[in-house]
Subunit: 335 residues, 2 copies
DNA sequence: CGCCATATTGCAACCGGTTGCAAAGGGGGT
DNA sequence: ACCCCCTTTGCAACCGGTTGCAATATGGCG
């Protein structure tokens, strides 16, 4: 049913090589030949089969896109950017939805079966070894939202989570909060570990710091953990490791009759679109999602050209976005 | 670098056909042969190349998944379900992110180039002709969230949008609202057209009905349109064609000092996860997303087996989910 | 033990393109 | 018109598997 190169060659009265070359960037074809072939191809509605050509060239223009965060609204933005960015550059994302799994074995096999050109692991909850497995299997890989490192084993692009944790601490203290707490995502997530690390760092200054973890980066998990905390914890302000956790936590607080920000302050991280909605209005640390994703795509493309490039960490900077869930610097808010 | 069938054949000391057959469901291979081949394959870490085999068999196990709703949080659920459901059945989604485009030409070419086995168009804003183009190009196609029809030209799976519109109208009238309005998505979206149609249908009963459209199914669009309406419209209750529109509309209302539900009632459609969050607490009509997606996947698989099956419409039913943005049946709420 | 039907195996062509190599074509200079 | 050199073209092998067909092996039965 679909038109093949051979049919075009016959119609144009030339060899299959000639047709192939007209559709290959930089191949040696005369203008006359090119015109003849294009005419025939046009007439038949021919489009070369990427997968067949991939068999010879070893490039399928397929990029494995692996994630496990399908419950965090931020990932809608992430997917939008990735899929658009990749397709604008002539690449196709092949999605792998990891739900529970953290063992890379199956994913590696899968992506090998589809001979993807490269892999992007977009997750801050998968262990570093996960992305590494792809590199060891010989595939170019970029770990987006991974943990930065001075001597990374795979390319990593993201933010400095330790610095973000420190910034959150600093912000809360500046606002006059003295009993502050960290509400993390899964304890195994490198992003949570690092944000906590930064949050704990610093002089005591008469400040009480505590922390705990939610099961996942999700609304439910945030709400559940805050509900649990309400029985014992009495922090004045929380740094939630993610916006959606913050929103869940706020729901629990309000459900228990605590006002935000008058009784309890909340600061999140990500600045997802929704954080700016009036009903949410979350003070948060902005993570430059678009820039991170652009950089990830650029990097994976660079790796396609030079697969043995030395892995590097790219760190993009974050900034505070002031909204309505933290009291102002100048002391307690009026009720 | 990757292990090929030929290497396995050599190691096992058998023909390549034998190896191929051991990995082919239902092929004729003796137990002894199978064991020998498996041993060799195991040792080498062999996994057959799906794309190469697709070249001969004509099946790539790739399913094109086309959507243009990357700004509606409901699509996070949609992607999660689709990607999981497909991969559980051994298929891989190949995502196409349509942003502005409504011309199927490029998408058809693209998916042909990747010789996908089938296509799922997951959108209620694309015209019916879009999905049809794939069928005409010879690909099995399912239009998820498409417009139902007694004699559809392509398989459609979704809800009865006209009935939903009618249910929304009935619900608002039962609650005692007398000036009611429809706030739609894009006017070209079949879902908006049909929901409006159902909403307008029925006796006058001293009820005033009006309607208008937002530019997109998005928070921004809902907020903007409601902001505009606030200058002239004075409906007591709105049926917003989508939850995210509702949330945007509520933001605009509250921003203008109107209370929901005391001053204005809002009912949405979808019942996305977020609609149940305490800060949102949206009364809405539940669309059975999971069931729709399961049915879509089952249907596309059925079509793989029988590509010339007669297209059919599957309609799943919706139900009202009572939350906090509509006053109760028994009259005006206390303030 | 021989015969025949059935199950298993290998050969070789093919899926849709790509590409190294050698042959053919074209242009410029004399 | 001739020669030389650079372009353009076609041939044929190959990418990693699949599969129809014929050859071979196996098993059952008399």
């Amino acid at each position: 049913m679909p038109v093949t190169l051979k049919e075009v060659a016959e119609l144009a009265g030339v060899s299959t090589s000639a047709v192939s070359r007209t559709f290959t960037e930089g191949a040696s074809v005369s203008a006359k030949m090119r015109a003849k072939v294009h005419a025939a191809a046009e007439q038949l509605g021919y489009a070369p089969n990427v997968l067949a050509s991939g068999l010879s060239t070893g490039r399928t223009k397929l990029i494995g896109l692996i994630s496990n965060n399908f419950h965090n609204p931020i990932f809608l933005e992430v997917f939008d950017r990735f899929t658009r960015g990749l397709q604008e550059r002539g690449l196709r994302p092949l999605i792998v939805n990891l739900t529970e799994e953290t063992d890379p074995f199956n994913s590696v096999r899968l992506l090998r079966q589809y001979s993807v050109d490269g892999v992007i692991v977009a997750s801050s909850t998968l262990p570093p070894a996960f992305a590494l497995a792809f590199r060891q299997a010989g595939m170019p890989v970029v770990h987006t939202f991974g943990r930065r490192s001075a001597h990374p084993e795979v390319d990593v692009i993201g933010i400095d989570n330790v610095a973000c944790g420190a910034q959150a601490r600093r912000t809360l203290i500046e606002r006059g909060y003295r009993r502050i707490a960290f509400l993390g995502g899964p304890e195994q997530a490198t992003s949570t570990q690092d944000r906590l690390k930064g949050f704990l760092r610093g002089r005591a200054d008469g400040v009480t710091v505590s922390y705990s973890f939610a099961d996942a980066y999700s609304f439910e998990a945030g709400r559940d953990e805050m509900t649990r905390l309400l029985q014992s914890e009495d922090a004045e302000a929380f740094f939630c490791a993610d916006d959606v956790l913050s929103i869940g936590a706020i729901a629990a607080l309000r459900g228990a009759g605590r006002r935000v920000p008058q009784d309890v302050g909340i600061i999140g991280l990500n600045d997802m679109e929704m954080a700016g909605w009036e009903s949410i209005d979350l003070t948060t640390i902005h993570q430059p999602i678009s820039a991170i994703i652009e950089a990830s795509i650029d990097r994976v493309i660079a790796l396609l050209g030079d697969p043995r490039a030395r892995p590097q960490s790219q760190v993009l900077s974050c900034r505070l976005v002031e909204r309505g869930t933290l009291r102002r610097r100048d002391g307690p808010q009026d009720t």
